[in-house]
Amino acid sequence: MNELSASSRITYRAVMVRPSVARRVRGLSDKTLAWLFITPTIVLLLAINIFPLLWTIYLSFTNYRANRANVPTIWLGADWYQSILTDPDIWAAMQVTAHFVIWTVVIETVLGFGLAYLIDKKFRGHGMWTTIILLPMMLSPAVVGNFWTFLYQPQIGLFNYVVAFFTGRAASSFQMLGDVTLSPWAIVIVDAWMWTPYVMLICLAGLRSIPDYIYEAAEVDRASKWRQFWSITLPMALPFIMLAVLFRGIENFKMFDMVNLLTGGGPGSTTEVASITLKRAAFESWRTGYSSAFAIILFVTVFGLANIYVKALNRVKSR
């Protein structure tokens, strides 16, 4: 034993130890092993998801302010909820959110499905076009927000010059981001530009899942292309379209980064979507209890929509 080198001694010890550990592990039931593997994940989820959620629910019933953490908190009951749900300014923010969500979802669905329908025809070079169309989706929302701010510049922005080229109107005569009428549409255009490819991908998956023999049977029955579209293509791709609509609806309901970079909620409060109002209440006015209540209201709405989303997803999976 003394003649053994250091590495040999380590190996020898490992060999000595291994059987007992192995025996101990081998003695565990499948259920215990499963728990052993998922416990770190559960602990992590509890720490970064569940605990902050429960803490936010608690704060939403108090007058807590994060910038005055030493001040004793007072239990207010549902006062903040009542205040938010009767506040015309928050109601206006919800309507701005509704305008943003409805128009982006409509535009993205129509354009996304149209593009998917064209790409599904497998024309020459369709692979290259698919890649090009998908490029905006791969960019970071922060990057998109920044470069669209430049594109919308009235003096040097490319967008204004393109509009001027097609309409004959002077490029510097309108401001997409500074005009109360145009700015809500400016954010809709950017979101549609960025996320239409995503809707296209989902719709393409739906179109590719339709078996060819259905179209062949329709051809035998001499159904026109128009009839095939309304009776086969659209009904069979509908669950996928619904999935895309729900996903984009949920995502845009909580949209923050891109709108914050483009307009910051302005001019005035014309593009102040709910998440920007929430950020202002939480980190500019430091009304932590109030903003927690607002966050819970938005959370319940998103959670409710997510339930519908999961139901739609299960329907798609069962096909």
Binding site: L85, W91, Q95, A98, V300, T301, G304, N307
Partner: protein, 70 residues
């Protein structure tokens, strides 16, 4: 000899037919959707005020009925 030709499903009570996951989930989904519409509609502040309660009720109902048998 009498043959019972009535299908088993017909003998089920109204509660058995209604208290199934499918219809209950559909009701919960409709309530959630109504709550979301109430939250974002521009017509009535009263509807907006009741939107959270409606969505919360629908969500809790959905969570419960998703555990009900098929």
């Amino acid at each position: 000899m009498s043959l019972d030709v009535t299908p088993a499903i017909a003998r089920r009570g109204l509660a058995d037919r209604v208290l199934r996951r499918g219809p209950l989930e559909a009701i919960a989904t409709t309530i959630i959707a109504a709550g979301v519409v109430m939250l974002m509609q521009p017509f009535s502040l009263t509807l907006y005020s009741w939107s959270f309660a409606t969505t919360l009720f629908g969500t809790v109902m959905f969570t419960i009925v998703s555990k009900v048998r098929e």
